[in-house]
């Protein structure tokens, strides 16, 4: 099944975020070999050029590296914790912005979220 993308930002950026998420959650581990660009593009349902752009960006940001004859790999020494925190920041920012648009006040947010987690997950 092709990956789902949002309308508002370039697809390659969204791919970068998705792969970072996979690294943060442990779906992709340090040292894992990435599939070939074409294969990955096919899995995601995107243009190989777009996928290439995303992978190059991930290399630039330090999450992947290329070994000339063997292919692309996930960097071993990525701090999952740090990555997770970064992503969490991003999600929380988005969540908070959305909550504020429906009229909640900053001060109410912590309570609401605590209540939600208690009811839904515990």
């Amino acid at each position: 099944m092709p990956w789902k993308f949002e309308d508002d930002s370039p697809i390659y950026i969204q791919i970068v975020e998705e792969i970072k998420r996979q690294i943060a959650s442990g779906e992709l581990k340090g040292g894992d070999k990435m599939p070939a660009v074409r294969e990955l593009a096919l899995q995601a349902g995107v243009n190989p050029n777009t996928m290439q752009k995303a992978l190059v960006e991930l290399e630039r940001q330090g999450f992947l590296y290329t070994q000339r004859t063997s292919g692309r790999f996930v960097k071993e020494d990525i701090s999952q914790r740090k990555l997770r925190e970064e992503q969490a920041q991003q999600f929380m920012k988005e969540f908070t912005e959305k909550m504020l648009t429906i009229g909640y006040d900053n001060s109410e947010l912590v309570e609401i979220y605590e209540k939600y987690i208690k009811e839904e997950y515990l």
Partner: protein, 232 residues
């Protein structure tokens, strides 16, 4: 990056009606290009001109450096919007036909794709449903190693699973040496596969940008921009 389609001041007239008006654009190899525009904008005319079905009235068009003619037909793989095979033929006959006339056709690829689709080569075309027939035609067109693929509304009238198959097929057969032009008005289904987008409006090129640029600049999808550009 070499240019596959080079189009300068292309004008195509039907009697008094001007379908393409000084249309100029260049498409490079290794790109999947979306040709987007409302009905009657000149999309189909452009595709038909590239495939050799319509004679231009003025301007220059070359495909891989060659002028339009019999030579370019052997490197262009065209998928029309309609059923175009004799309905009495069997799927197997269609494969033989393509194999006979196109040196870049790979019957093995075609048979493999048909197997994945669970379509039997012995089936007669008239016995197939509309959607299945369209899939077969796509399989044939994509089993060629052409330099230019022209897909005219490949997603029209086809169920979502089939649309996924079509995109998957286009991506699987992607080649750095070829250019794929997808002409459609069902943009949402095809967006994530496009490198570049050419908007055509009233026979002219309204915009030609990379898909990423459009999303960055406009903060909306290509489909969203389309609606804005072509709002009635």
């Amino acid at each position: 990056m070499s240019v596959i389609v080079e189009c300068k001041d292309l004008t195509v007239k039907y009697g008094k009606k001007v379908a393409l008006n000084n249309f100029s654009v260049e498409f490079e190899e290794g790109r999947i290009v979306g040709l987007l525009g409302p009905n009657g904008s000149g999309k189909t005319t452009f595709i038909k001109t590239l495939s050799g079905l319509i004679t231009k009235s003025a301007g220059n068009v070359t495909i891989a450096g060659e002028k339009l003619g019999t030579a370019t037909k052997s490197i262009v793989s065209y998928l029309p919007e309609r059923p175009y095979f004799p309905s009495s033929m069997r799927v197997k006959d269609m494969i033989d036909f393509f194999n006979d006339f196109y040196t870049d056709f790979n019957p093995q690829t075609a048979y493999e794709m048909l197997e994945t689709l669970k379509i039997s080569p012995k089936d007669k075309i008239k016995a197939l449903s509309k959607g299945t027939r369209e899939k077969v035609q796509l399989v044939l067109v994509m089993s060629r190693s052409a330099k230019l693929y022209l897909l005219d509304e490949p997603m029209g009238g086809v169920d979502p699973a089939a649309r996924d198959f079509i995109l998957k097929t286009i991506l699987t057969n992607y080649s750095k040496d070829a250019c794929v032009i997808i002409s459609t008005h069902l943009i949402q289904d095809v967006e994530q596969v496009l490198d570049e987008v050419a908007f055509i409006k009233e026979g002219r090129l309204a915009m030609f940008k990379s898909a990423d640029e459009i999303r960055e600049e406009n903060g909306k999808s290509i489909d969203g921009l389309f609606r804005a550009v072509f709002a009635c």
